[in-house]
Symmetry: C2
Subunit: 431 residues, 2 copies
């Protein structure tokens, strides 16, 4: 038997006979020739079966293949400049494996609810496959960057006795005789880990039981959360710039074919170079006011505000130093202006909104204890978090980046639901 | 100011003055000299302050440092063959950062319940830090191996409408108006993804609401689950061998200091070379019977059986072809003996038990449909899984490897609870 290979490596076999294993994506016929579009998970290739060359039996087998039936195909690799990927296969043999009758997702347009109901099949289409490939490369790029920079991966728990930001948007479960909630963020645990390991990060799922239906929200999403001991707000912002630039560069370098399949304008991505523009919250409010928005100091931004602010720039925009009252209890106040905190949100360009939220954390025991009282946080559940300020506290900072929003931006998707293999949304728990 | 560095990189600065930032792990004094053991998350180094050299003020500052107080220390890097890590620091300056009064974990022995209650601090000790570092390197090695072999990382959902193995050991949560459960395995979703992407793997948390308290069980644990289209049982077993060998080799190459801190016998790990021994379930039963066990064909193995079987070998042991009735409904029967399935469990040596479970999956629609009926599985919840056999089904296989059991084995730990940053066990949800 000829060597078994995959479509992405077929260029190594020019002129040779190889075996591919995959599925029929599409086909067309011109009488005595069948053009089979075969996909194998690594790409799509055109396999050409000429009746006079392959004989009647093989040609009939090709004719009988239906959409998404599986097959093993043998043929000779030919260079062809017109072909996607640069090669096609001159078929010598075809072995059907699994049939496929009335495949539900035809090559015409389908409604998104229908596609989501068939997500287990929808991911087979080249566009969805390409998005999932980019997602995997984004995760790889993030881990590569952090591992090379001395970070240690740490996995905070998913089941927690409580959370830092109230319980109304948390999923509840009974943990034997105790109450437990699904994590919204591993940050508090990562702060403990940073005091043990210096620089740490997590890469895992998080959950928000929010009854909202926007194109930026998922109920179950993935976050990457770096946390660094002996880090200031400024250190934190600079790290984020280098990190995001690295991720975008990695995708440009490793996913050229996928970005082409998705139809992404890569020139816009190539502009994502540090340093990124920065704007204080104060400046952002004044800019919005000057541009006709009815917004006052102390108000939070909505999605339209974020989109307009970011639209001024061709790269991501940091908005720094939000009002203390708007942000989480653990953020370090600006020493010169305690009404704002040492935080930054990073807004992606092209209307993709916030992809990162980060801050320096309060490291003073008394100040954090005051915040517990003001915010009515239960001391028994959070005693361990206060301990971090009691025993060798250090200035530290960190951030969380939303994986699906980042992938949606890099791929130029309309909705985050395509940026995760099996999206969980309001009224969407299947398949 | 002198360059800021970390203990793991201090060898690059021999003879130079550098700044370290960390915590006081321990100290001793001999009158006019203070020996500070400083840790910074990357290692521990001895910093020597000589009163006649540093002056009274710096010396007094050193004397005042307490266990786990944080500090910035400046000094000259000296090579010292007697020192752990090969270097020590001749202190020139000390800046205390955060105090630490009555640190709960002293350097004497503590009970494990006390340590688990203080897990947020316990992870600071060199042994726990080393274990977490090995865990991170194991994850890195797994991703490296699979990514290099053409796999795509895919994240199956955590919240699922149901599960493949009954609901009694599942955590329940209300998902708006629906019932949802926390995943025990992403396998079914990964099978769908393998039909789209060829070779895929997941790396994420899984949950088992089991009222068991053994040294091998966690309620929340991490699994890596590769799934491969066009793979047979034999392909699957060979992949596992190469995978486990790679992971152990990577840890030996990258975690020498950590394994030394933990006190692991690395010679035993160096023996983990493919091919691994294999035994059929039938042979294992006969071996156990011959060695005095009251066990019959059709019985499952208990931990003592696994330990004895594995103790014959210096590397992991595959046990293949278990009785169909003992294993999950989706496993492919041996075509020559349908009373057993094409599966294998991999038992780690030294009594660590099962670390991998894998199998070829049923790819025939009618056979899988029969299994649904026999096992009383709800067609509405699983219809999508049957679809995978309806549209271009192919032989496929996969496995799941338990991260904490693998780390416990590689580190030689008594209990899996130390192999995860914040263990979740029966009656253990805090911190």
């Amino acid at each position: 038997m000829s060597p078994v290979t995959t479509i992405d490596r077929i260029g190594n076999y020019e002129g040779q006979t190889v075996t591919l294993r995959g599925w029929l994506y599409n086909k067309r016929s011109s009488g005595k020739i069948q053009f089979l579009q075969v996909r194998d998970g690594t790409g799509v290739i055109q396999c050409v079966a000429v009746k006079s060359e392959v004989g009647d039996a093989v040609f009939a087998a090709c004719e009988a293949l239906t959409q998404e039936s599986s097959l093993i195909v043998e043929g000779v690799v030919r260079r062809d400049a017109r072909a996607k990927g640069g090669y096609e296969l001159s078929v010598t043999r075809v072995e059907p494996v699994g049939g496929s009758v009335d495949y539900p997702i035809t090559l015409k347009e389908h409604g998104v609810d229908f596609l989501l109901d068939h997500r287990h099949l929808w991911i087979r289409t080249p566009r969805q496959r390409a998005i999932l490939k980019v997602r995997a490369e984004v995760m790889r790029a993030m881990a590569d960057f952090l591992d090379a920079d001395g970070f240690t991966r740490v996995d905070p728990p998913i089941l927690t006795p409580s959370s830092c930001e109230g319980t109304t948007e948390l999923f509840y479960t009974q943990y034997f005789d105790e109450d437990a909630y699904l994590t919204q963020s591993g940050q508090m645990y990562l702060e403990a880990a940073a005091m043990a390991l210096g620089k740490v990060y997590s890469m895992g799922p998080a959950f928000r039981a929010e009854r909202s239906k926007t194109r930026r929200h998922l109920i179950e999403f993935w976050m990457i959360e770096p946390e660094m001991a002996f880090y200031t707000h400024e250190d934190n912002v600079r790290l984020q710039e280098a990190f995001v630039q690295h991720v975008v560069r990695h995708v440009l370098d490793h996913c050229e074919a996928e970005l082409a399949t998705i139809g992404r304008d890569v020139d816009r991505l190539a502009k994502v170079q540090a340093p990124f523009p920065r704007m204080s919250y104060d400046e952002a409010i004044r800019w919005l006011q000057a541009h006709g928005h009815d917004i006052r100091w102390g108000d939070d931004f909505g999605a339209p505000h974020e989109t307009e602010l970011a639209a001024q720039f061709d790269r991501p925009l940091f908005i720094e130093r939000y009002p203390t009252a708007l942000k989480a209890f653990y953020m370090q106040p600006d020493p010169e202006r305690p009404e704002v905190v040492l935080c930054a949100d990073l807004l992606a360009p092209e209307g993709y909104g916030e992809i990162i939220g980060g801050s320096q954390r309060i490291h003073d025991y008394d100040l954090l204890r005051d915040r517990f009282v003001t915010h009515n946080l239960p001391m028994d559940t959070y005693g361990w978090y206060l301990d971090l300020r009691k025993y060798g506290s250090v200035p530290h900072a960190g951030f969380g980046i939303g994986l699906e929003r980042t992938v949606a931006w890099i791929c130029g998707l309309e909705h985050v639901r395509e940026a995760i293999p099996f999206p969980r949304m309001l009224y969407r728990l299947y398949p």
